[in-house]
């Protein structure tokens, strides 16, 4: 029988070992502060490459408040755990990353730790950025360190206990962060590999398009099966896609490059900023992303292919005139408010798409259609895009729900949505926030 002393010793060793392990998981060293580097110390070609990479990474979408100073942070990001405010990533010495060395920047990208050794919340998608190569991190660093420094302190996050404890993030990482730069697949083309590297890494497409578990991590077994962002639905972009016409490489390329496609419509909601950024990066990278994503969608089933051809044939045979004898409120609103653009033979962007082609209407989630009818389609600053007026001020929730239900029945080829009016009411509430963010 072991003496209490031996048991005590074993317990003490276990406690110490546990403490050391916990310490190893949680503790990260402070990295030395540097004097903010002179912009002229960076190679201009490297900065230029960093600019393209930052656009692919969509950094400005979260780190710039609409109408605010570039990369100065402060954007509220609502999460199920509370609101997190994006940080200032300009090279300001006090409030930005001016005193961060390249090593500190790389550590943040690879393992979500700031220069002070604090764990960053995974709203900053380092579960993707960990796959970015050191060379690309260097270019991103060069780009960010040559931006205009902006003095803007980060706002305190508004998180409930225990999520306000950054230690919790260390545990999250243990469970969900898989380190390592992208390993290329030798059975696939160089273009496919480039696309996979960008999509899984810097472009972090899955951050919106993959559903998340109760702890806010992407469900890896449901990659690209569709997710939520800012009260929009990020469509499934794998074999579960509900697009009436199946996507292929060329369509993806055109859509990502110009922000809309005649057979699919316009990228809106949070995707608007993404395509706006992608309109400025090297075409070869968009081509690579399209190539990889086409393989993620996979070849459509015969049935989907046939359905896509039918829809296209029907759309090109003539405008979707309001159905004869449409006497319901929804049909009448469609005839008067929608058909002038959506039932003409003017091709997009001069007319609206034939709504039989709209994924917003075939999607199981009514929120995107509700968002678009309420606030319309507005170009982001400096962007060339189709325009659609919003109807928030001229229609009640019930009227919008009536037109949505009509559109779903007429064009969706799917079972009706439920509780459409409740969804519209909810979207109208959050859309106010979006509109405020739109103010220059």
């Amino acid at each position: 029988m072991a003496s209490p002393r031996i048991i005590g010793g074993i317990v003490a060793v276990a406690v110490i070992a546990g403490a050391i392990a916990a310490f190893a998981v949680v503790w990260r060293p402070v990295l030395a502060a540097i004097d903010p580097p002179q912009p002229s110390s960076f190679d201009s070609a490297l900065v230029r490459r960093g600019r393209d990479l930052a656009a692919i990474g969509n950094c400005n979408n979260c780190h710039t408040v609409r109408g605010g100073k570039d990369f100065a942070g402060g954007l509220p990001v609502p999460t199920p755990f509370g609101t997190i405010y994006s940080s200032n990533i300009t090279p300001d010495a006090e409030t930005g990353i001016g005193r961060w060395s390249e090593a500190a920047f790389r550590r943040a990208m690879q393992s979500g730790v700031d220069r002070d050794g604090q764990h960053l919340y995974p709203t900053f998608p380092y579960d993707h950025f960990t796959h970015v190569s050191d060379d690309d991190d260097r270019a991103l660093y060069a780009y960010l360190m040559t931006r205009q420094p902006v003095h803007a302190s980060a706002r305190e996050n508004d998180l409930a206990f225990p999520f306000n404890q950054r230690i919790a993030v260390a545990g999250w990482k243990l469970l969900f962060l898989r380190h390592g730069t992208y390993q290329s697949d030798s059975t696939k083309s160089a273009e496919w590999n480039r696309g996979a590297y960008l999509v899984e890494g810097l472009a972090h497409c899955g951050a919106c398009h993959t559903p998340r578990n109760a702890l806010g991590a992407e469900k890896t077994q449901a990659s690209f099966a569709g997710g939520d962002v800012d009260n929009w639905h990020a469509y499934a972009i794998n074999s579960q896609s509900s697009a009436p016409v199946p996507w292929d490489t060329d369509a993806l390329f055109r859509y990502l490059r110009q922000g809309w496609h005649p057979d699919h419509g316009v990228a809106r909601g949070p995707m608007a900023e993404v395509v706006s950024n992608l309109s400025e990066v090297p075409e070869s990278d968009i081509r690579a992303i399209a190539t990889y994503m086409a393989s993620v969608f996979g070849a459509p089933s015969e049935q989907r292919k046939r359905r896509g051809e039918e829809v296209l044939a029907q759309a090109s045979s003539g405008p979707a005139q309001p159905a004869n004898g449409g006497t319901t409120t929804g049909a009448q609103i469609y005839a008067a408010a929608c058909a002038t653009c959506h039932a003409t033979d003017r091709a997009p962007p001069f007319g609206g798409i034939n709504l039989a082609l709209s994924t917003a209407l075939t999607s199981p989630d009514a929120r995107n259609a509700a968002n678009i009818v309420l606030s319309g389609i507005r170009p982001t600053q400096g962007e060339r895009s189709p325009i659609m007026p919003g109807f928030a001020d001229s229609m009640t929730d019930g009227q919008i729900a009536a037109v949505l239900d009509y559109l779903r029945a007429r064009f969706g080829n799917q079972p009706p949505w439920t509780n459409t009016a409740d969804i519209v009411r909810d979207i109208r509430r959050t859309q106010t926030v979006l509109l405020q963010r739109d103010q220059p």
């Binding site: 008067a336 408010a337 002038t340 319309g376 659609m388 001020d393 229609m395 009227q399 103010q439």
Partner: protein
Amino acid sequence: MMTLKVNGQDHQIDADPDTPLLYVLREDLKLNAAKFGCGLGQCGACTVIVDGKAVLSCVTPLLLLEGKKVTTLEGLGTVETPAPIQRAFIEEQAAQCGYCISGMVMRAQALLQRNSKPTDAEIRAELQLNLCRCGTHMRILRAVHRASHLMQTADASPVQRSTP
């Protein structure tokens, strides 16, 4: 037959429920301030106020207006006694060809009704939906600021204009 309330008056309208408000205003009621620009809700020339909100009358069918109050430019003031917003546009000479101005005035009026002292940025964001091809934007901006001032000082005395 439906009752449409425009500028405080009830009108009996005999038109299909999907008829755009703009057509009823211009053709049935002979209120020609709201203009037909694009007919697609893209230019804002047809803007009127419905229950306090700026609405594009070319894509607003009659059936959405049951029990609502429509205000057009004619409902704001007259040539003899222009409303503060109209006076401000005149004093700033904010019109060139004038086609967009009725819509601009109505959207600006709706803005001022809910925000009596808008910032430059707020005015720009609000009027973004209304297009002007002559390029009088800076004058329009000044006019909205002036109207905001006039409304606050309640100075709606007749327009003083120097002879050109």
